[in-house]
């Protein structure tokens, strides 16, 4: 067995050791073994580009399985979906980023831009809300002032805090405030019954109070038609 191994070692190290230095003994020292191992040629990479890998079978499921669970899943150049890259990933990243300073500058510029944009949006929303609040508060005050709940003299828990009292002086009727502050109930209106419902009534019924109508659409990048100037109010045509 040792003779066979000697021959193997000798043959593998043939190209590294010159014939003039060939040992005359029939054994290999430990140092020579280590040296042979160190200067042994690197194994050729068995990485196969997945785009051109021949599928072992025609079944798509096998191709998917080979793609998701490759044999060399822990290899850096593996095609595993978790952490796999193209072989020239570093070159590509360098082409996009350039230097670390360049990348940091771009990142900071974007974050600054976003901070300013979000601050503007926040201030804009705050201004709109404050305007709404002031208008509603003013309407409240001029129609009798803020309401405060008053507890009933009796100890009936059902009446507790149900009575309301106006605290201000009304310049305009209170119904203006009540009409403005009514909470819309989308499904309060009863469904129209009957066989022949006029078109206008049906159209009005579809406009649910408090909900955005379906004719108000989200802005899109491309609209295949212009504004509908020829819109006609639904009515029964004679």
């Amino acid at each position: 067995m040792s003779v066979i191994s000697l021959n193997c070692v000798a043959s593998s190290s043939r190209h590294t050791l010159s014939s003039s230095c060939a040992p005359l003994r029939n054994y290999v020292t430990k140092a020579e073994k280590l040296k042979a191992a160190r200067v042994a040629p690197k194994k050729v990479s068995t990485y196969v580009d997945p785009r051109f890998a021949p599928a072992p079978s025609d079944l798509k499921i096998d191709a998917m399985r080979a793609s998701l669970y490759p044999d060399n899943s822990f290899d850096r150049k593996s095609v595993s979906p978790v952490g796999a890259h193209y072989p020239n990933v570093e070159e590509k990243v360098r082409a996009v980023i350039g230097s670390p300073e360049m990348y940091e500058t771009i990142d900071r510029a974007w974050k600054l831009h976003r901070r300013i944009e979000m601050a503007k949006r926040r201030d804009s929303l705050e201004a709109q809300f404050r305007a709404m609040e002031e208008a509603c508060d003013e309407l409240d005050i001029i129609t009798g002032g803020p309401e405060i709940p008053v507890s009933d003299a009796s100890n009936d828990p059902k009446n507790y805090l149900k009575e309301k009292q106006l605290t201000g002086v009304a310049i305009y009727p209170r119904r203006l405030y009540n009409a403005a502050m009514v909470k819309p109930d989308s499904f309060a209106a009863p469904r129209l019954q009957g066989k022949k419902i006029p078109l206008e009534a049906r159209w009005k019924e579809a406009r649910l109070d408090g909900l955005i109508p379906r004719e108000a659409w989200v802005p899109v990048d491309s609209k295949g038609k212009g504004w509908d100037y020829g819109w006609e109010r639904p009515s029964e045509k004679e």
Partner: protein, 256 residues
């Protein structure tokens, strides 16, 4: 001291929503391209043998398109040689219109056009014949009127803007803003136009109508001497009293 209070007025801020998404700035477009290229660089290779049959038309189209995308992201050197796909029959061409295509077609209507500024919200102003001043459509409240019924008399059938040819939606009955002048209060309500267009009657006190974006609206009100009106109303459009600082935060709030 028992004087009759002046009647309230209801003004309508009638607007058309933006029709197309807002135009991104050069910084945004450049950053998106950079970010997409970086994502492409660190992403997984596409397993083409899973998604395509080798040599099929779809596969060749994909390879050609993918080469173009790689070239755009990393340059010709890294993209390498173009794939040998041979002749590919062209796909059905997409008709790509310009962003202001409809606005250009409707240019003859001028300021009455509802295609103006398609990526922004535009607001309705009407011009009085006598004073020749531009104002929001307003109605004084009569007895038994509430704010939203007055607004409906502006946009409803037979109203100031003739609702017969116009489809509008009142956002809410609550007022969104308030201005006061000599003891008279004007409450503002918001409404959106969904279809058709408003028509002013020739016998009425208004001569003209315009759909203006925010900057045009500010300019027009200031040009006719209505700067206090603009200051009172600008919060409804989201223009804060103190403009946002350049850095996006209040420097004084930082602890030194």
């Amino acid at each position: 001291s028992s004087s009759i209070p002046p009647p309230l007025r209801a003004s309508l801020i009638l607007s058309r929503h933006p029709l197309i998404r807002r135009t991104p700035s050069t910084l945004e477009l450049t950053y998106h391209a950079h970010s997409s290229a970086l994502r492409r660089a660190i992403s997984n290779p596409v397993p083409e043998n899973v998604y395509f049959s080798k040599g099929s038309l779809a596969h060749r189209r994909f390879q050609k398109a993918e080469y173009e995308r790689e070239k755009e992201a990393f340059g010709a050197a890294i993209a390498g040689t173009p794939p040998a796909v041979g002749d590919i029959p062209p796909e059905r061409p997409l008709e790509i219109l310009e962003r202001d295509h409809w606005a250009k077609l409707d240019a003859e209507r001028g300021e009455r056009s509802l295609e103006r500024h398609p990526d922004q919200e535009i607001f309705c102003l009407i011009k009085e014949k006598e004073s020749k001043k531009w104002e929001f459509p307003t109605r004084t409240l009569k007895e038994n009127d509430s704010l939203h019924t007055a607004a409906e008399q502006i946009t409803g059938v037979g109203g100031i803007l003739d609702g017969q040819t116009m489809d509008t939606w009142l956002v809410t009955k609550k007022p969104v803003g308030l201005t006061q002048k000599d003891g008279q209060r004007t409450f503002y309500l918001r409404s959106h136009i969904l279809g058709g267009e408003p028509k002013l009657s020739s016998s009425g006190p208004w001569s003209d109508l315009a759909w203006l974006n925010l900057s045009e609206l500010e300019e027009r009100l200031k040009a006719q001497g209505d700067e206090p009106l603009w200051d009172g109303v600008k919060a409804i459009f989201g223009v804060p009293k103190i403009p946002t600082s350049e850095l996006g935060f209040d420097e004084a709030s930082l602890e030194v």
